[in-house]
Symmetry: C2
Subunit: 476 residues, 2 copies
């Protein structure tokens, strides 16, 4: 049979005596919008392939939807699927082995997921907000009930980055994880750079093209990236999820002039989600970092020649540095119906592969480490985080003492200077010419740079516009 | 306990009552050279972290080595490890649960691995040659005996690409896999491009720096990449491993002029391992590909702006295109002691997580698909493979009819032309000036281009040097 050319992979169900193949995994799905419909479509289209990999079929047997007519249109007359308007009916359905939560949001979704767990169902979700906020409660409940909670689709959907962290890189002491984990902002940043647009124009373009929502704050203010960074940190360092501890800055106040100035210095600006082991890792010690974990989302200058700087448009990429593997990178679509479905279905296959009598002791733990090996690591206050910095100090054009003055103020504030450069912008449209003094620093504590920035801003007769600081990440 | 800040992850063994944690996984290792010593080091250094992830300890209890004195130096006086010169002693050791084959080679390694399987041991290996040549036999034996064979370290060591294919992307019909999967050749190609070196000089540099072996043929002739491409193809398409069916070309005959000409056309040259679904996939149909799977290793021009073109030095990267996930990429070190150990230890953690009574039905199958769903897919003869091509036709400088003549011969040979360009090289060091007519074609069958090349070569009075063809991969 191994070499039978007549055996199509679509005929897996017929290929073995019925007794030899476990019965299909029965899936209940809550929500059949973008993620749910993609999951339905992919499971139908590739059912033979998927069963050949999973060792058994995967069948959606119940669907809860707010709009039953639209849901029925997605299901397209396929029989044997129970359609209901009641999510709890699916969450507690006696004929369901695993519940896919594809509804989104945090309040009701939390209740449905907890109900499913209480009824002994495994849970698959791509809902990063839910897990970043309620993950500890949900994982503890699942652990206690002996069911799995899988969420590959919650971070950088098309890329199996949760699997890489939880299973692929288990040999390593993870030093840091850093990534472009929000497609909307990466699209906007790419447009700002490629077309020289300001933020508002690039945002409007992204909205017109469907890359940004009408209310874009969740994306552009960094909240979505922070949800994902929280999950990455928990998996990398064996700590509970703690979204409220993350430092979150978006790209709303990013100016076109800084995109251009970064370019002249050999950098590009990306919105990064970063989780870094503090004093414990070798890298941390070298940078003089305090003990604890860094968990932060903010725009950052990255070297233009770095692979991550080449990740453009709405694509995502995550870098992971481990002490054995070195720097690795994972790249792919970060959103979309089928890319998300790719992750959801992979989670379903993982669940399908669990033996009926498998226990938590023999599973991949939800947050990479078994509960007894987790630690509630302190997240460093942002003021204590040490990174390199970019500073832009706008002064009157032609001042001969500009560099000297800026350097003097920085020295007085205890901020060392690595490079100092003047970027002259000539008079345009009636706006006065400005010399932008650009500074790149070695690693300095964040609070110290903030204090220096205020000192520069308040220095009498120095700045003609507000000075700007951005962090620099070398990602080595 | 969950939030106890005093509980170090190193104390996992003490954190639970002894009965609650399964006994450690006992590892026997054959060979303690680069891979084996790295595995030993990483397991020792990160033992607490690894146990916290695996849910149990992982201990090396027996080691076979040719040079016992050197092995003892690596073990560094650690007690409780049996050291022997007899690999079969380790392969059949009653106190061993899993055997790490870290010896390399194909003949004896095959025997040791089969002996371990016959004695009910799981096997972990990073030996791509062994699996590309003897994989079918080894996997069948393991299946029959109910043990696992894991080999993450066999391809692009630091990157969990086997895991991505077998578990992360299970939802997808894989359309193609393409990668830079040999670090030595990528280092040489990077030097040729960055420094303008010819192949021999770049190879000598690579040898001096330890990136290439004294006998480099295994790497530079593409054999190593073909072993890996064979494993990727098997996992992507659910077919047995079939190294002997791969088309294998290395970079030995690559000329500096082609590296330069590729650059002027907006391409870079990389040695790629490619596995592509033929007529079955949408992409295949568009390109007019015949049915069957493409399995090939050869240098190829890739767009200079493509992320893969930025992968330089000895680094590896693998692209996977699935019908749901789209194009994804995985990047990291492709060789080295600890990057390989990262993969070997991850495999050990996977084995440690298997329940004692787990059966093959509930495991990840060795080649991604359960045996009953595998198909012995035909590998397309290279002549039938359709790709875009780059042609360089060196003619006497200043010939006004050069482009016209070349286009005419190609038309007569049925090879369409997409772009036609003349790259003039002036007289240097007594060598006559040459006009290189550069052609890029749309997708054409390989055999047809070969015939056209011979026609150009044989055209009286046309070529002043042998014309050259290289394949072009857009990787979209």
């Amino acid at each position: 049979m191994f070499n039978d050319p007549h055996l199509s992979p679509l005929s897996v169900g017929e290929a073995l005596a019925p007794a030899a193949i476990p019965r299909p995994l029965r899936v209940g799905m809550i929500g059949i919008g973008t993620v749910g419909a993609g999951t339905w479509r992919v499971l139908r289209r590739n059912q033979g392939l998927i069963a050949g990999r999973a060792g058994r079929g995967i069948e959606i047997v119940a669907v809860a939807a707010r709009n039953l007519a639209r849901a029925a249109a997605v299901l397209d007359g396929v029989e044997g699927v129970e359609l209901t308007a009641d999510p709890l009916r699916v969450a507690t359905h006696p004929g369901v082995d695993v519940v896919v939560e594809a509804a989104g949001g945090t309040g009701p979704a939390r209740e449905w997921v907890l109900a499913a767990i209480a009824h002994g169902k495994h849970v698959v979700t791509a809902n990063k907000a839910l897990l970043a906020v309620h993950g500890n409660e949900i994982f503890a409940a699942a652990q206690q009930r002996g069911v799995a909670v899988a969420y590959e689709g919650a971070v950088a959907v098309s890329i199996p980055i949760i699997k890489a962290l939880r299973e692929g890189l288990t040999a390593n002491r993870i030093e840091w994880v850093a990534g472009i984990i929000n497609g909307t902002t990466n699209f906007i940043l790419t447009q700002m750079r490629d077309e020289g647009l300001d933020f508002d124009t690039a945002l409007a373009q992204a909205q017109a093209l469907g890359y940004a929502e009408a209310d874009p704050s969740f994306d552009v203010d960094g909240v979505d990236a922070a949800h994902k960074a929280t999950l990455l940190a928990a998996n990398a360092f064996g700590m509970p999820v703690g979204f409220e501890q993350a430092h979150v800055e978006g790209i709303r106040s990013l100016q076109a002039i800084d995109v251009a100035c970064a370019e002249t210095l050999g950098f590009r600006i990306k919105l990064l989600g970063i989780a870094r082991r503090g004093g414990a890792g070798a890298g941390g010690r070298e940078r003089g970092a305090a003990d604890g974990v860094e968990l932060r989302v903010h725009p950052a200058l990255v070297p233009a020649r770095h692979l991550l700087a080449q990740v453009d448009g709405s694509m995502n990429a995550v870098l992971v540095k481990g002490d054995a593997c070195g720097v690795t990178m994972y790249y792919g679509a970060g959103a979309g119906s089928e890319p998300t479905a790719s992750a959801v279905v992979a989670d379903l296959v993982d669940v399908a592969r669990l033996a009926a009598d498998s226990t938590a002791a023999h599973r991949v733990p939800p947050l990479a480490f078994h509960p007894h090996a987790q630690r509630d690591r302190a997240v460093l206050p942002m003021g204590d985080v040490r990174t390199r910095h970019y500073l832009r100090v706008p002064v009157a054009a032609g001042r001969a003492d500009a560099k000297e003055l800026v350097a003097g103020h920085l020295a007085a504030a205890g901020v060392p200077v690595q490079t100092l450069h003047v970027h002259a912008v000539p008079e345009t449209d009636g706006a006065a010419a400005i010399d932008h003094v650009l500074v790149v620093t070695p690693a300095v504590a964040d609070a110290q740079v903030q204090a220096a920035l205020e000192r520069l801003r308040d220095a009498p007769g120095l700045c003609v516009q507000a000075p700007v600081r951005l962090r620099v990440e070398m990602l080595e």
